[in-house]
Symmetry: C2
Subunit: 371 residues, 2 copies
């Protein structure tokens, strides 16, 4: 019996890794993609859909849930798992990123951050301790500490101050955590400044956390600079802990990051793009709303086993978007989430078979142009 | 082996009837409710959802499909069943009602009706023959003839002219029909004028159609006048043919109509009201968006076996509506369609058991206030 938070590295292939992370709601086989369920639901999908798409773990958001419906209500319902009827593992983001991207006023002090709710404009104060407390009420399996994100580009002095504060906030978060069933990750910051990333990573590794996230990327720096920064950061993370690249990304971003040794991902791209009519397929991306698909009798992706691909033609899906029918978006979302889950499951299989470089090249050939 | 269009009356209880109608895509057990799939999809539901909700037959619309995507495209896809991936029976409405309710200009002549498309303003001409031709391309199981609806209230002379023309159009429709796998119903018109209804019904019965619809009701005349007009009309329809009350209605309307001997129903109420947060339950209607459901841990309807009721609390569903999450509407739609299908299945069971009056009283007690 392995304990909650234990990470077993099963196989490596170059820097790419296949592993298993134990959570209170079961194991997570890595590399893994986590569909985003910001407000206690992955947009357009039911828990049954998530299971059918072979989802292992979903991400939800501390900031959004604290504002609506409030963590106290969710606690009354027996926690987030019962509230949203998802019995698998859940990771909750700290809300640090959302405070910086969604709210108007934000006043940062050593104590924490004060911001205006993007919903009603009310003043809200988050501290590292408060964010841990909210997540304790939610009962999520993997919890994230309050961190300070910086924009891109960002001067080194500003990025340094934010990274240093994030380190101090992590220490407070670790002290505030009470629940042994919850796994607290660190979030490495430092913008695109390699030295800051290294220092931040080293300081956090000294705190001996069960997992390490890389935050503050995919904020406009572009694929190349993201990969460079990621590479520098990952080198300074312990190999026996899971590594989670936050908010990334397109298929090529994901697979190139797996190649660097990243284990976990979340991103709104598969779900958001689906709602805009964009589907990921084994032969590249397609925009289903295009006229050329009007008479197309083949499925979105002939190699995909999802309900959408097993049931409907591209022509029918195009019709649903053309007349703006409700079910259009759920059907494409189901497909895209299935695609991403398979993208990572296939990566894992390739790593275990020692064939990751071949797989990586295949993905690069298909997705380089459209990345 | 019974032929397509055959209707077997299995049991009567007072005027209420339980029967079976044979279609090219299987039998329909009556009384039956048909969810509305205007544009080749029941709003918010997949075919798998419809099956889970125990849907026997869906309704789609000739007018909408002829405009978008066009019946020719659907024919290329192998017909409406294959296009929308619904292998059960389909009834297509003629579009007569939509021409009168949705389009701007309409010029009626003996030949047919000319109207402006509600989508692009193009002039479109429908004749009885054209409407049969469109439905031949769609390949629906039960097809409806072009009819002329009148508004409520309507002077007798105007209603008479429309009803007489509808009779003549029915004769042309019957002559135009080629496909033996399709079942052509008549549509009795005549507004709320009892004599017109009787005359119209008698003339149509002479044409010996396999089914009789009652059109032009639920257009503002109210429950009492609808039931009165319906009662007069049904008396003049043959007992060995199915009777279909078009566009009706609330649970009480439906059950009171079953009591008069109606076998088939369609209505947007369960699907449209679901999208507005209104759920039908075994104890009456509820508006899930109300504050009182914020902390409610029970399901929408504890007696319902649908996925929504088996999985989620009222409090969670209220949260989904409060934050305007996409999945909220599909979840309530699934429940309401399940509810309506069960309402009719239970009515059928009660009729077969000789207990329909008890069932009718139960529904009246629960739904009289909110009708």
């Amino acid at each position: 019996m392995t304990h909650v938070g234990a990470f077993t590295l099963e196989q490596t292939d170059g820097a790419a890794r296949a592993g298993v992370l134990q959570t209170a709601h079961g194991p997570v086989h890595t590399p893994v993609f986590m569909p985003v369920g910001t407000r206690a639901t992955v947009k357009c999908l039911t828990p049954a859909d998530l299971v059918a798409a072979k989802t292992q773990i979903v991400l939800s958001n501390t900031y959004h849930l604290a504002l609506r419906p409030g963590e106290e209500l969710i606690r009354q319902f027996g926690g987030l798992h019962r509230f949203m009827a998802w019995d698998g593992p859940i990771l909750t983001d700290s809300g640090g990123y959302q405070v910086f991207s969604l709210s108007d006023l934000k006043k940062i002090s050593e104590d924490g951050v004060t911001f205006r709710s993007h919903i009603d404009g009310d003043l809200v104060h988050f501290t590292p301790e408060r964010v841990i407390e909210i997540q304790a009420a939610l009962g999520s399996d993997i919890i994230m500490p309050l961190d300070e994100c910086v924009a891109y580009p960002c001067e080194e002095s500003v990025a340094r101050e934010a990274a240093d504060r994030t380190v101090r906030w992590l220490a407070r978060s670790a002290r505030a955590k009470r629940n042994d069933d919850q796994i607290l990750f660190a979030i490495v910051q430092g913008g695109t400044h390699a030295e800051l990333r290294v220092t931040c990573a080293q300081q956090m590794v000294e705190m001996n956390l069960p997992g390490y996230a890389i935050g503050g990327l995919s904020v406009g720096e572009g694929h190349r600079q993201m990969i460079d920064t990621l590479g520098v950061t990952v080198e300074h993370l312990p190999s026996d802990r899971p590594r989670y690249l936050m908010g990334v990304g397109l298929p090529l971003d994901v697979i190139e990051s797996v190649a660097l040794g990243v284990d976990m991902f979340d991103c709104v791209i598969p779900t958001r793009n689906a709602r805009n009519g964009m589907a990921f397929t084994s032969t590249g991306r397609i925009k289903i709303t295009r006229e050329e698909y009007r008479t197309a009798e083949e499925p979105l992706d002939a190699t995909c086993a999802c309900y959408t691909c097993a049931t409907f033609s591209r022509g029918y899906l195009r019709h649903l978007f053309a007349v703006d029918e409700y079910i259009a978006r759920p059907l494409l979302t189901l497909h895209n989430v299935t695609f991403y889950n398979r993208l990572l499951a296939d990566a894992r299989e390739a790593i275990r078979a020692g064939a990751f470089e071949t797989y990586r090249k295949k993905i690069r050939d298909r997705y380089e142009e459209t990345n």
